[in-house]
């Protein structure tokens, strides 16, 4: 769902002709301080994920029976969980799983959505009708329930969660892709290209795809957050990522039994998750506003 962006009108003065990309890029960090901060935060998460073994003070699955459920201290800045595992280390490693699940499941969803959406948008007749009904059907099933069903079939674990969440996201992607294809299809340059008897596939490749890919990429940035949230919801329901994997959703779910006296067990991974999602959403907005051809045209 492309939600209109808050800053769009202010940052793109309508009177001004579009600047060259180079100058635009140079100033974006100055023009958008929130974007810059969010980008730094998101980058920090990515770095933490990549270099987790060097950054984390402990092994994320090292149990210490003498340090169970300790409040945040110097030795354990974010406290320990009910196995004596260091929460800071688990949060840092958790960034890996969050990003892996977020990115790869969305890629699966986007790829599936692209194929079905393109096919539905470009084909006609009964095939289009059938594909549209297929998309409607996927959309009509709540994606969390779909993900639960897929997990039931596939089994559990990070890879399975990626596939299950990815499959359950195909519907929304397919719909936006198809909508974009429909818009492009009727535009003059496509008709012109077709009239010039340029091969069909080439028209798609040269003219349709580029106009579909960009909004799709925007969707991807938005839906990464959704994928991470759905995967953590699965953990809450007791399925999904396998413990003791340092996954945030799992940590939140496990810590909920101790909320009244050890709130940090759920709260720390919860904040880590929220911070990442906030950063991703600001970054996503910023990128969209800067580069979305539609918004620029509109402005």
């Amino acid at each position: 769902m492309s939600i209109q962006t808050p800053e769009a009108p202010t940052t793109l003065p309508p009177a001004e002709p579009p600047k060259k990309a180079k100058t635009g890029r140079r100033s974006i960090f100055l023009r958008r301080p929130f974007f810059t901060i969010a980008l730094i935060v998101a980058a920090a998460y990515v770095l933490a994920a990549i270099f987790a073994p060097f950054v984390a003070p402990y092994d994320p699955v090292m149990q210490d029976i003498n340090a169970m459920m300790q409040a945040p201290s110097v030795a354990h800045p974010l406290g320990t969980d009910s196995y004596g595992q260091d929460i800071l280390s688990r949060v840092i490693y958790g960034a890996r799983y969050a990003l892996i699940i977020g990115i790869f499941s969305v890629l699966i969803g986007a790829a599936g959505g692209l194929v079905i959406g393109l096919a539905a948008g470009l084909s006609g007749g009964w095939l289009e009708w059938a594909l549209m009904r297929l998309i409607d059907s996927i959309l009509a099933l709540p994606s969390l329930i779909l993900a639960v069903a897929f997990i039931a079939i596939l089994g559990q674990g990070v890879d399975k969660v990626v596939v299950a969440v990815g499959l359950s996201m195909i519907g929304p992607f397919a719909r936006t892709v198809r909508a974009d294809v429909m818009q492009v299809r009727v535009q003059l340059f496509v008709e012109a290209a077709t009239l010039m008897s340029i091969p069909y596939l080439k028209v798609i490749w040269r003219h349709v795809l580029p106009n579909v890919i960009f909004p799709l990429a925007v969707q991807v940035t938005i839906r990464i957050s959704e994928a991470i949230l759905v995967s953590s919801s699965l953990s809450f329901l007791g399925i999904g990522v396998t413990p003791p994997t340092p996954d945030w959703g799992l940590m939140i779910a496990e810590g909920r039994a101790f909320v009244s006296f050890a709130a940090w067990m759920s709260a720390m991974p919860g904040f880590a998750l929220a911070l990442l999602l906030i950063a991703l959403s600001i970054v996503g907005d910023g990128i969209r506003e800067e580069f979305d051809p539609k918004l620029r045209r509109g402005a």
């Binding site: 209109q4 009108p9 009904r133 009509a140 639960v148 809450f236 329901l237 759920s266 919860g270």
Partner: protein, 316 residues
């Protein structure tokens, strides 16, 4: 006109058919069955086979599906395998009202909080208030709703003793009691929508305020509250309704978690426990209801455009 309506109905039926086959098939693919779960650790092969045959679970997949479909169409939704619940009563009479109540409360919260917040943000564009509202909105979308629910319970219900921890009271029987029990779950479920509506309202209103008719209204000397709240906000309705219709799926999915945390006996809890317990027919009932709801609401959204936007009416 009638042809179009028939087409829509045909489409809806096809979609419901595909959905029912898909959900039945998906769950049958998953390992495990209700009898094994029912027998627990007191497992014996004879009892297993006897009960399986009794419940018709030894039939081939297609036969089971056909049997279910024929009965379902006739209004016989069946009984659950293990607890022998009458599914129509359970799903339609008991669970559906709970979920609808929760969903409408959340929507009401979202609109009552989100629209004013968005309008004020737009009016006070680029002020501290605007930034604050933006941060609030972002946080709302970023927190997993189950964590939020648990934190709300511990703070507002246990520590402050302001609201009940859990449970459902029908607002039709006890209006204030119903509202009282819905405040925390409604708030939990609505955070995402508050955020979305705030952002949408703000963006749309900023755009609207630059339109000529707003300038015209101002020029007529109408007070600025009237310009904003009447002429401006009127134009928010359409994009808002569209987005809400499309996001109904997200709302229904949010009810799964909210209902679990606050122990509300709605469709969300029904569906999760049925999927995990392999109660095939309960899952079917739940899926058919949510799918119908989803399709129906989106149809309504389509139909409501002419009412919301006078320009569309004029064109007809």
């Amino acid at each position: 006109m009638w042809g179009q309506a028939l087409g829509k109905i045909a489409q809806t039926l096809v979609v419901l058919f595909v959905v029912s086959v898909a959900s039945f098939g998906l769950l049958k693919l998953a390992p495990g069955d209700p009898i094994q779960i029912m027998l627990g650790s007191e497992y014996s092969q004879e009892a297993y086979e006897s009960l399986t045959a009794e419940l018709g679970l030894d039939q081939p997949f297609l036969a089971q599906y056909a049997d279910w479909a024929v009965r379902f169409v006739q209004g016989d939704w069946g009984t659950s395998y293990v607890a022998r619940t009458d599914i129509f009563t359970y799903a339609f009479k008991e669970a559906l009202p709970v979920t609808l109540t929760l969903a409408s409360f959340s929507l009401a919260f979202a609109i009552l909080i989100g629209v004013p917040l968005g309008v004020l943000s737009a009016v006070k564009k680029d002020t501290a208030f605007d930034a604050g509202a933006a941060v609030l909105a972002l946080t709302g979308t970023a927190f997993p709703s189950f964590l939020l629910g648990i934190l709300l319970i511990w703070f507002f219900a246990v520590k402050m003793q302001l609201f009940p921890v859990m449970g459902y009271v029908s607002p039709w029987q006890d209006f204030w009691g119903g509202i009282y029990h819905m405040i925390l779950p409604g708030l939990t479920l609505s955070t995402y929508f508050i955020a979305m509506i705030t952002r949408l309202t703000r963006a749309t209103l900023i755009e609207v305020m630059e339109q000529p008719y707003i300038a015209a209204a101002r020029a007529r000397g109408e007070p600025s509250w009237r310009v904003i709240w009447v002429h401006g906000v009127r134009n928010i309705a359409m994009p808002l309704v569209t987005i809400l219709g499309l996001q109904l799926g997200v709302l229904l999915q949010g009810t799964v978690l909210t209902e679990t945390v606050f122990n509300l006996p709605g469709i969300g809890q029904m569906l999760t426990s049925a999927v995990l317990g392999r109660e095939y027919m309960v899952v079917q009932a739940g899926v058919m209801m949510t799918a119908t709801l989803f399709i129906g609401v989106n149809l309504l959204v389509d139909l409501s455009y002419p009412f919301l936007d006078p320009r569309l009416r004029a064109r007809k």
